[in-house]
Symmetry: C2
Subunit: 336 residues, 2 copies
């Protein structure tokens, strides 16, 4: 595209019988031209099928018209991440911006970010080299959850994970659980660290003998499964299983059955990340809905506010997470 017969601003200006500047101003509605010429130019542009050349525009000094989104490999299978991505795209499109994907291979060899005005990072791993690189670059960064690696991003959107987990743990306790296990996400993310802390605090406050079992990021389902069976075999008193990382609950469910336990009956089961499958499994699994699409949108919105100066650097915005109660945590029935 764009090569060959592309219609330029000059074409429009000539056809409308005005100057480049007037055409430009008319098209962007800068309020410099009279209403009559404006509409005339706009109509001409439409008739000619004019589309502004973004490269020229960005070369001239405006932004690049695109924001970056880091896509860590680990998250390839994460339903959460796909929704998050759509949220970012939604919001970017609303202000006529592109979304450019950034992966490990995508950093320019010379270490400079290409073609983006800013970057959104979902759940940045403090150990991810791409993240480190991105934080070092001079484009503003908005993270979903805090970045635990030192440098502070220009903005952040934070979920109330502590509160959500607290509510969930309260629920488990009132359903009868006394020995919950948290298969906690790695503390390399703020989310994982928050969950671990909240779990410990809740156990202490309620005098519960909870067990914390950390799961590195990107554990394959088979591994989750093996760990669950191991855990349950090693400690038969466990009466509630909380699955942290996205997808781990789906992997844990069959393992629970295989361990001879019945989720929702003699073992309560819950997930820290809701997913479509959890509502449909047998039994349906209680989960925290992180509202990923809205989270993505919120991050993008914050980034644009930062870029336009509407929000000051360092802005932090909050988001609510929702506890979705399903059959898997209804009530604990102790074996006779």
């Amino acid at each position: 595209m764009r090569t060959g017969g592309a219609v330029t601003l000059i074409d429009v200006a000539k056809a409308a019988g005005v100057s480049k500047t007037t055409a430009s101003d008319a098209l962007r509605g800068s309020g410099r031209v009279s209403e009559s010429t404006r509409s005339h130019v706009v109509r001409t542009a439409q008739r000619l099928g004019y589309a502004p050349n973004p490269s020229a525009r960005s070369l001239r000094g405006a932004g690049t018209g695109a924001v970056g989104l880091h896509v860590p490999d680990i998250l390839a299978r994460s339903e959460y991440y796909m929704s998050f991505l759509l949220g970012v795209v939604d919001e970017a499109a609303a202000v006529d911006h592109d979304v450019t994907l950034i992966t490990a291979r995508h950093l320019s060899p010379r270490g400079t970010l290409r073609r983006v005005d800013g970057v959104v990072l979902a759940d940045p791993l403090s150990t991810d080299p791409v993240v480190a690189e991105l934080m070092r670059a001079d484009a503003p960064v908005v993270t979903c959850e805090r970045f635990t690696g030192g440098t502070a991003p220009a903005g952040a959107v934070l979920g109330d994970h502590r509160e959500a987990l607290w509510r969930l743990l309260d629920r488990l306790r009132s359903a009868g659980a006394r020995r919950p296990v948290l298969m906690a996400p790695n503390a390399a993310t703020d989310w994982g660290a928050t969950l671990q802390r909240a779990f410990r605090d809740h156990c202490r406050e309620t005098g519960t003998g909870g067990v914390l079992h950390e799961l590195p990021f990107g554990v394959p389902p088979a591994e989750v499964r093996a760990r669950v069976k191991e855990l349950l075999a090693a400690d038969p008193a466990v009466d509630a299983l909380l699955c942290g990382p996205d997808g781990s609950a789906q992997a844990a469910l069959p393992a629970v059955y295989e361990a001879g336990r019945t989720p929702g009956a003699d073992l309560l089961l819950a997930a820290c990340v809701d997913a479509a499958g959890l509502a449909q499994s047998a039994p349906p699994v209680t989960a925290v809905d992180l509202h990923p699409r809205e989270a993505g949108a919120a991050c993008a919105r914050l980034l644009f506010d930062l870029l336009s100066g509407t929000a000051p650097p360092g802005t932090v915005r909050r988001m609510e997470c929702t506890l979705v109660e399903r059959a898997s945590t209804r009530e604990l029935r102790r074996p006779a």
Copy 2:
């Protein structure tokens, strides 16, 4: 970024004591400059942290350095699509290109594509307006699977879905199934249409009384579940269930149990799209691995070959799909 102190070609040229042109040629290795000056300029550029400005480059006439990828909303939950996307990004990054996400809201109001040299479409729905728009634009399009909407794309990557389904149906038959049901993906995609055709043909050739049940795209799990139960109740003779759309097998599994049937025993179960969960469910579910990441990479590679003229317009490339046999199709045991 890029604003403020960005190092430009002129800076490098000055620092190296050569002209803009020489610097440019040296950095791109156009073979115009002597080896000694070339290495000198390159070193200078490195020292200064120079990164070429893509906007300027693309303004000057080269491509935009980015390819588009259409992300239909429907696919938000598709593991397949997320992997496909990573494949595209991999390949694009390998030739130093960006990947720009395109959604419904993203088409410029004037119908012209922005900032991309070409577009990749995974499994284009003939009914998707964005797809129609994209096909109409003048950027080359590569589709994964055929586009059934009339216009031919510049290139296509095709899986051997007919063969794969055939193998699967053979397997089911030799495992004892005589009344298979295909919950077929909508015929609005080439993939869906191919699967439906293959199923009908196989049934005819083997004299099997198969049932075709079309599932529109993006059916929520609850709906899949309801349909499965309905199907199984209405026709108790059904002894094999084939799930088409990504995710439908996961939704179907609990429904099968609820219908009083035992998958892998008195009902064979299989999926047309493999997913992480299927290997871990109880029982593990036989599926066709579409190799999404490689498919994405293949599409991107084809697009770049098209853009560079290495491949002629109209090129079609093939990909193999793999049948992954698991416990759910081992052998049919008819109830006594």
